[in-house]
């Protein structure tokens, strides 16, 4: 695997405020890379720097071998961005929006239509082609935004909180499209989000706080390291049961014990297989990871 993005000691300062503080990371080609953090953590600032929109204060960035600040035009041809808020023109139709955006990359009408062809059915763009962007639903707008980001046939797609403000159904549809794009086009996807569950499919997750990367790894690694798994044991409250779970952080609710595990749960299950007749294992969530790392829940 080669690196799609290499970032070394990236810093962005606004006077006395440091938005991004000396961060380093690599994004491999074809992976789904996620930046997780609250508003103001530095996610959008980092994306805006990588997309050549903002100047960096310090650091070194390479996107597909092209150095930021030196080969910006080449980088711009390789990237597509879905911004947090829609950036298409509300008074223009979907068709007018996409045709004008295609021209930003020097494409003529025929080339733009060729580029859009695969998405007309998949993203149901054909049926809303002549509708004004302002008349579209939230989900339809997001689909058009994604197609707009793909118009230059990018090698990397930046998604800056792409599902913020969408209802659960629209969010699912958008994610189905993103997964399909990753699989079929082997696109590298750089995602920022504050929805924990959206990082579940990521190949690599970095958690940002106040411009610093405070943890990284695959979702499974992060859960193992920073979230405790929970065993729910359905049994009556008894001294013998209390003896078995002695030494573990536990509580009793109605008809079951909740037992927290920081390490492997397998040994415990093996040792007590005869008495554990009715139970379920709940793996730690990314919410738990964030909670344990920052001491607070997301959005709190």
């Amino acid at each position: 695997m080669t690196n799609a993005i290499t970032v070394k000691n990236l810093t962005k300062k606004y006077d006395d405020f440091t938005a991004v503080n000396n961060i380093s990371f690599d994004v491999e080609e074809g992976e789904l890379f996620a930046f997780l953090g609250e508003n103001g953590a530095g996610k959008s600032t980092t994306i805006n720097i990588l997309c050549t929109i903002l100047d960096k204060t310090a650091g070194y960035v390479k996107v597909f071998g092209h150095e930021l600040s030196k080969d910006d035009d080449k980088i711009r041809n390789l990237i597509g961005i879905v911004f947090q808020n829609s950036v298409l023109d509300k008074k223009l139709t979907v068709g007018e929006n996409l045709m004008t955006r295609g021209a930003y990359y020097g494409l003529d009408k025929r080339q733009i239509k060729e580029r859009l062809e695969p998405y007309m059915d998949d993203f149901e763009i054909g049926e809303i082609w002549n509708r004004k962007y302002e008349k579209l639903s939230g989900g339809q707008r997001r689909r058009v935004d994604i197609v707009r980001a793909l118009i230059n046939d990018p090698k990397i797609l930046f998604l800056d909180e792409p599902t913020t403000g969408l209802d659960p159904k629209s969010r699912k549809i958008v994610w189905d499209h993103i997964r399909k794009l990753k699989e079929e086009k082997q696109l590298t996807i750089f995602l920022t989000t504050h929805y924990m569950e959206e990082t579940a499919d990521a190949d690599e997750v970095k958690i940002l706080e106040h411009g610093n990367i405070i943890a990284s790894g695959t979702p499974a690694e992060l859960k193992t390291r920073y979230a405790s798994s929970k065993l729910v044991w359905y049994t009556g409250r008894s001294d013998s049961a209390e003896d078995i779970i002695k030494g573990y952080d536990h509580s009793y609710d109605a008809d079951h014990y909740n037992i927290k595990f920081t390490g492997s749960i397998t040994d415990f299950l093996y040792r007590n297989s005869k008495v554990l007749t009715d139970y379920e294992v709940i793996k730690g969530t990314m919410d738990d990871v964030f909670l344990n790392l920052t001491g607070r829940e997301m959005g709190a």
């Binding site: 929109i53 711009r76 950036v87 008074k91 004008t100 021209a103 930003y104 494409l107």
Partner: protein
């Protein structure tokens, strides 16, 4: 080049597709027209009648048709003059809206060069102003021409359109310098309200600038739009005034036409000095050139973040 054309087309479409924006950008022109129907026509006609009272021996040589033609063309210059200010400003609100809604980030992340982005905003605004003013001017000239003799040759018509284009471009360049200072579309809209109210006075659409004190005349004539409106008035009315002078037959030695030129401001007065046509052209071109240079400097800083 394709990128620049694409962005210019988008900027044009954003303005032209917003019907409300078009109506508001022509509001001052519509007010000028409404006031003309209500009382401006009689005010202008009275001013001409008063001028004629100073020359009783030529009164019978000036027909009602001549006075009608003069007032109609004065109206047309007022309408076009105010639209040359309000249309480009309104179109340039796209710059502020794009910034407020982060649309500029979408543009900045494409391979379009920064100077092309600036130029495309300028081009779209200039083009929309030329388009709208060209339409108003053409319709106005046709309507006035149907009702009387315009006394304009091909070269006069060409100079009218050339002055209109110069006016649209110089106004656009000037506003390109002002517009980056607005952070929100509401602030930009509030300024537009002031601009709409003031522009009619600045270009002398309601009251000829010559009726103001020297100081006020100087303030009005700082704006290139005033010069352009005076140039437009010259180009539109020279033939009519020459025809009136011809009908008078030289018995007043051109005094009546000269007084009309003074009353309705055919020359610009700045800092106690009078600028003729060539001076006004030079002034407008200078402001245009300075605005263009300032525009490139201002925007190069704006896109460094």
């Amino acid at each position: 080049m394709k990128m620049y054309i694409g962005l210019t087309k988008r900027n044009l479409l954003v303005y032209l597709k917003d019907k409300q924006s078009i109506v508001f950008s022509l509001l001052t022109s519509m007010i000028v027209f409404a006031l003309y129907l209500l009382f401006l026509k009689s005010t202008f006609a009275d001013a001409i009648e008063n001028a004629l009272n100073g020359f009783p021996f030529i009164k019978e040589k000036i027909g009602a048709a001549d006075i009608d033609m003069l007032t109609s063309i004065l109206l047309l210059s007022g309408i076009v003059g105010s639209a040359m200010i309000t249309v480009p400003y309104n179109c340039l609100q796209t710059v502020v809206n794009d910034r407020e809604n982060n649309v500029d980030r979408d543009i900045l992340a494409t391979p379009i060069r920064r100077w092309q982005i600036v130029l495309s905003y300028f081009s779209a605004s200039g083009l929309s102003a030329i388009l709208m003013n060209g339409m108003i001017l053409t319709v106005g000239l046709v309507m006035i021409g149907i009702n009387g003799d315009l006394h304009m040759g091909a070269s006069d018509i060409a100079s009218v359109y050339a002055v209109m284009i110069l006016g649209c471009l110089s106004s656009t360049a000037l506003f390109m310098m002002i517009i980056p200072f607005f952070k929100t579309s509401s602030a930009c809209g509030a300024f537009f309200g002031i601009l709409s109210a003031v522009s009619g006075f600045v270009i002398g659409a309601y009251i000829p600038i010559s009726q103001f004190s020297d100081r006020v005349q100087t303030v009005c004539n700082i704006f290139p739009a005033s010069h352009v409106t005076i140039l437009l008035r010259n180009a539109l009315l020279n033939g009519t005034l020459e025809n009136i002078d011809k009908n008078i037959g030289g018995i007043d030695e051109g005094a009546f036409v000269s007084s009309i030129r003074d009353i309705f401001t055919f020359r610009a007065n700045m800092f106690g000095r009078t600028l003729e046509v060539s001076g006004m052209c030079m002034y407008t071109l200078c402001v245009f050139a300075i605005s263009l240079i300032a525009m490139m400097v201002l925007y190069s800083k704006r896109y460094k973040k």
